[in-house]
């Protein structure tokens, strides 16, 4: 029996086989979707670049200001040219990938737990708990994300941490709604009743029965949201409210290249291209993942 037939066995002999088989089928479905695979390649490449940034590029080139090399067009020495302070643009973009991923990671780490903590009990208990929690969610859902982030940055001062807080504060409500909807579809399932009869506490049922089943759709939603998070973070950086100079944040790089846009176009446009390709990658991947999960349900 090959690995493949074991995985695709319609009558799996163990839980592990069933679970791995499910994943393998999803992977096969994803593979047929060329757009999604393109997205996956982009995201994986970005991760590798961010992780191995110090290996593939020289950090000094990103910070070293060589004023006689200002605003050089592309050359073998500087593939993407240099910026207004003579720093190598490609190297800065490579290190910028780290900042972008850190922001995305931090926002996700805040948003998903909050969304689950609000959405799961709301769907599970119903009644006034549901009403109160969803009212709060609706209030936050009605907030304009970027503008609220602006206001936060104005009060707290610009910086990555504050940008993360501001984005997270406006990004969690859809997760709460999603978690609630997922919980509602399973609230009255027999396996939940069985768990209740066995004397499991509410907390235990939420954490061991409902949470694991809700996670896949939350993760898909997160992948689709990543692009939005990246764009908001880059927008804040562009406005000068995210990462502060001299850090190589992509949005801030676009902003600093604006002054020389007409004569040295590469300074502003190339970092912007990185923002675009990255968010496109996450969108393509998320879109494909959603298709896969749709066809299974």
């Amino acid at each position: 029996m090959t690995m493949r037939t074991w995985l695709l066995d319609p009558a799996p002999g163990s839980r592990r086989q069933a679970r791995l088989g499910g994943w393998f089928r999803a992977w096969l479905a994803l593979q047929r979707n060329s757009l999604a695979m393109t997205g996956l390649v982009i995201v994986v490449l970005l991760l590798l670049v961010a992780i191995f940034a110090p290996v593939i590029a020289d950090r000094n080139l990103a910070v070293q200001q060589v004023l006689e090399d200002r605003l050089q067009p592309w050359s073998w020495q500087h593939w993407f040219g240099t910026d207004e302070l003579g720093r190598d643009i490609l190297t800065r973009m490579i290190f910028g990938a780290r900042i972008t991923l850190v922001i995305v990671f931090l926002v996700s780490a805040i948003v998903v737990p909050i969304g689950l903590a609000i959405g799961l009990p709301a769907g599970y208990f119903g009644g006034w708990i549901d009403a109160v929690l969803m009212r709060i969610t609706d209030i936050f859902l009605a907030f304009p994300r970027l503008v609220l982030a602006l206001a936060f940055a104005a009060a707290l001062g610009p910086g990555i941490e504050n940008a993360v807080i501001a984005i997270a504060l406006t990004a969690w409500p859809p997760y709460a709604r999603l978690a609630r909807a997922e919980t509602l579809t399973r609230r009255n399932a027999e396996f939940i009743q069985a768990a209740e009869l066995l004397g499991a506490s509410h907390l235990r049922i939420l954490l061991t029965q409902i949470l694991p089943l809700s996670l896949p759709s939350v993760i898909i939603r997160l992948t689709l949201d990543m692009a939005g998070i990246i764009l908001t973070a880059a927008g804040l950086g562009f406005l000068g409210l995210g990462a502060q100079p001299p850090s190589a944040e992509w949005g801030a790089m676009v902003s600093s290249g604006r002054q020389v846009l007409l004569d040295q176009w590469w300074v502003a446009t190339l970092p912007g291209l990185a923002i675009f390709v990255t968010s496109l990658g996450f969108n393509l991947l998320g879109d494909g993942l959603r298709d896969v999960s749709d066809s299974r349900s």
Partner: protein
């Protein structure tokens, strides 16, 4: 009949309740941002060179000696009256400033919305009809590109290409310096005002400035509108009445564009309202790129002048527009869809 009136009144009361609650939430957040987060709001106003007496006077003026709830209540009363305090930067009341800059943003966002709707709905319908075939794939890819686009970057590229290289459109700003102050202000929207005054030359200059930022914002909303239209249409095209209409001998075009699309409008209204809200936000970035003297430009400048009153006033304004749009789409939804009326 009486029952219907009763349920309509009840639905309206519910809506009003939820809107006021959201408004309270919004002002709560802006209050916290303005009064609680800054470590010392007094110092932010008087500066660190002020004497103790001035400091104490301003502290009492701001009511900072009172409990938080009382302070919030005072703040809320002022906001409801449209009093956001004075702008440090312009020395005008913030509300005056906001009313001065907001029409420019409305003008930009409205044209963008028109582009988004006129472009997005036909694309979405076309994609749904050709589901899975190559037109669908292409439209899907184009929308995904729109979703992934940093709007400020697209703006810069647009300026570089269409203004600097090709010279097809006018540059940053709302109109050329030579045209300043020709047209009297009526609505604050220069396209409307110039036509009102019969100044076609000014109108075309304004359009030359407006068309590029509006198209760029419009493209982003085409992406949203096309995708939503596609998914709404797909769920309609699956229904049996479509089959019945086709079997009856109606032309496929009529079935798609009149019957199916007719049922999709209700859902689309919500999407369009929300798109308008996100366009207002996108305008913040676009305005910065195009030096467009609207709300976003004003917010950004206030931000860097540490003008917290102006920033929070702008935030409340955008928030209120958001809430208003949500409410409007709810109301329209109830008016258009008889099913939504009965069940509350």
């Amino acid at each position: 009949m009486l029952g219907r009136v009763y349920s309509a009144v009840r639905a309206f009361a519910r809506l009003l309740g939820s809107v006021s609650l959201t408004f309270l939430g919004l002002t709560c957040v802006t209050f916290v941002i303005g009064r609680v987060i800054p470590i010392d709001p007094v110092l932010a106003i008087v500066g660190d060179k002020a004497s103790n007496e001035t400091y104490e006077r301003v502290r009492l003026q701001l009511g900072l000696d009172k409990p938080l709830m009382v302070q919030y209540w005072t703040y809320l009363k002022k906001v409801v009256q449209g009093d956001f305090g004075n702008s440090v930067m312009t020395a005008h009341p913030v509300l005056t400033d906001l009313l001065h800059v907001f029409p420019a943003t409305i003008e930009l966002a409205t044209l963008a919305l028109v582009i988004g709707v006129v472009g997005g709905i036909p694309l979405g319908v076309y994609a749904a009809v050709n589901r899975g075939r190559w037109p669908d794939q292409i439209i899907r890819f184009v929308s995904l590109i729109g979703y992934s686009m940093p709007v400020f970057w697209l703006g810069l590229i647009g300026l570089l290409l269409f203004y600097a290289k090709l010279g097809w459109v006018e540059g940053p700003g709302r109109l050329d310096v030579g045209f300043d102050d020709i047209v009297p202000t009526v609505t604050g929207m220069l396209t409307v005002d110039s036509l009102w005054a019969g100044e076609t030359e000014v109108f075309w200059n304004v359009m030359g400035h407006l068309i590029l930022p509006a198209s760029i914002l419009g493209y982003i909303s085409i992406a949203t509108v096309a995708r939503m239209t596609r998914s709404f249409m797909l769920s309609q095209l699956k229904q049996e009445y479509i089959l019945a209409a086709l079997a009856k001998g109606l032309s496929p075009a009529r079935v798609v564009w009149v019957h199916a699309l007719g049922n999709v409008w209700v859902q689309l209204i919500t999407v369009i309202a929300l798109t308008f809200g996100s366009l207002l936000e996108g305008a913040v970035l676009t305005e910065t790129v195009f030096a467009w003297p609207g709300l976003g430009f004003y917010l950004k400048n206030s931000l860097f002048a540490a003008d917290l009153n102006a920033v929070l006033g702008g935030t409340v304004l955008v928030g209120v527009v958001y809430i208003g749009l949500n409410m409007l789409s709810d109301v329209v939804y109830t008016l258009v869809d008889p099913r939504a009326r009965g069940n509350s």
